[in-house]
């Protein structure tokens, strides 16, 4: 299932209760506390269910999940071709 930016923002809006649309796509989320650990775990589960790929320790990295742009890029790379 292809992850759209709107679906991601809607999901984060429900779990983080912060309107991330007001932030830029490159704004840091986890390293600045906008997303906490609990919400990050929920996000990872959400991405797993969307991409069908099981995440490993090598995936769970700020480079992949610290901004909307990085999350979208990671999801696109893991989606089945």
């Amino acid at each position: 299932m292809t992850l759209t930016k709107d679906a991601l923002l809607e999901y984060l809006q429900r779990h983080v209760r912060t309107d991330l649309r007001a932030l830029g796509d490159d704004a840091p989320l986890f390293s600045t506390g906008v997303i906490d650990s609990f919400a990050m775990v929920e996000l990872l589960l959400f991405l797993q269910s969307h991409t069908g790929a099981k995440l490993g320790p090598e995936d769970v990295d700020l480079d992949n999940f610290d901004s909307i742009a990085r999350i979208m890029a990671f999801a696109a790379a893991r989606e089945p071709k």
Binding site: R17, F38, V41, E42, V60
Partner: protein, 299 residues
């Protein structure tokens, strides 16, 4: 029209906000939480054992020649007397009482007050109440007696809060349905459309319309006394606390939904979906550890 108004709702359901608004009306005095009604409820407490008489003050005084109506009348005069004096001091004709944990004493409060006050019954989505109770307990550092009774029975605090909410919300709903003149409100409606909800409430209370009541309530600084500490930090009413349950971990949401959904549906809130697909505790734990490692600064 009664001079007394009693606000009842499970704790963390917006009762302090409502008290604050009603207290800004020129005819209604609303003291900080007095614990008068729950205190009176404890006075009326009776132990009942299958073979015998109820054991308590009413039965005991009955044997001394004071019938129940007289005992209730004297107790009512004692309780209402404080509220009447408070209203007089503020040059107002009516009063509104609320204390956070009164909802756990509804039968006794009803026994004391029915026919002598107008009840305002407030409800809020149960999982939001539970999330807010968790925050309250964290701030206070312990459990008041009414909550402790549930924590003793349920080792998981969230489950204890859920059972507490189910009981309190059920008792308040029953009163709202059965008591003539009782007014039922929802927290969600109050924070989304405060002007309309309060205008309608004042009309149903027989109080004069007052378009400035919200502005005056919000302009007031917090007063010394028991009550919700958060409402006084707000200069506006908004719905930012609605649906806060969505931030609970999915496993907790699923467990609470199982417990609360029958009551949520009965109260007109939708059932909370139980997302069994993500309810994988071990996988959640593994991901949690990975996220914690992600926090560590690289050397």
């Amino acid at each position: 029209m009664t001079r007394g108004i009693v606000i009842l709702g499970p704790p963390r359901s917006g009762t302090t906000l409502l008290r604050r608004i009603l207290g800004a009306h020129p005819d209604i005095a609303a003291p900080p939480e007095t614990y008068l009604l729950s205190g009176a409820a404890r006075f009326l407490h009776e132990d009942r054992f299958s073979p015998g008489l109820p054991i308590g003050a009413v039965a005991g005084l009955g044997f001394a020649g004071f019938d129940e109506a007289e005992v209730l009348s004297r107790l009512r005069a004692f309780v209402f007397g404080f509220a009447d004096d408070f209203a007089r001091r503020h040059d107002k004709r009516r009063w509104a009482l609320k204390t956070a944990f009164d909802a756990f004493h509804v039968p006794a409060i009803r026994r004391l007050c029915a026919g002598h006050v107008q009840f305002v019954c407030l409800q809020r989505q149960g999982l939001d109440v539970i999330a807010s109770l968790e925050e309250l307990v964290h701030k206070t550092g312990g459990y008041v007696d009414e909550l402790h009774a549930y924590v003793r029975r349920h080792p998981d605090p969230l489950e204890a809060f859920a059972q507490a909410w189910i009981d309190a919300a059920g008792a308040v709903a029953e009163l709202a349905a059965d008591e003539p003149g009782a007014i039922a409100l929802r927290y969600e409606d109050l924070v989304r459309e405060p002007a309309a909800v309060i205008a309608d409430l004042l009309a149903r209370l027989g109080a004069r319309a007052d378009e400035g009541v919200l502005a005056r309530a919000l302009a007031e600084l917090g007063e010394v006394g028991f009550g919700d500490w958060k409402t006084y930090g707000r200069a506006t009413i908004d719905d930012s606390s609605v649906d806060r349950w969505r931030r609970l971990p999915a496993a907790a949401r699923a467990r609470l939904a199982e417990l609360c959904n029958p009551t949520l549906v009965r109260l007109g809130y939708g059932a909370v979906p139980i997302d069994t697909a993500t309810d994988d505790a071990q996988r959640r734990y593994e991901l949690g550890l990975m996220v914690q490692r992600m926090r560590r600064p690289t050397s």
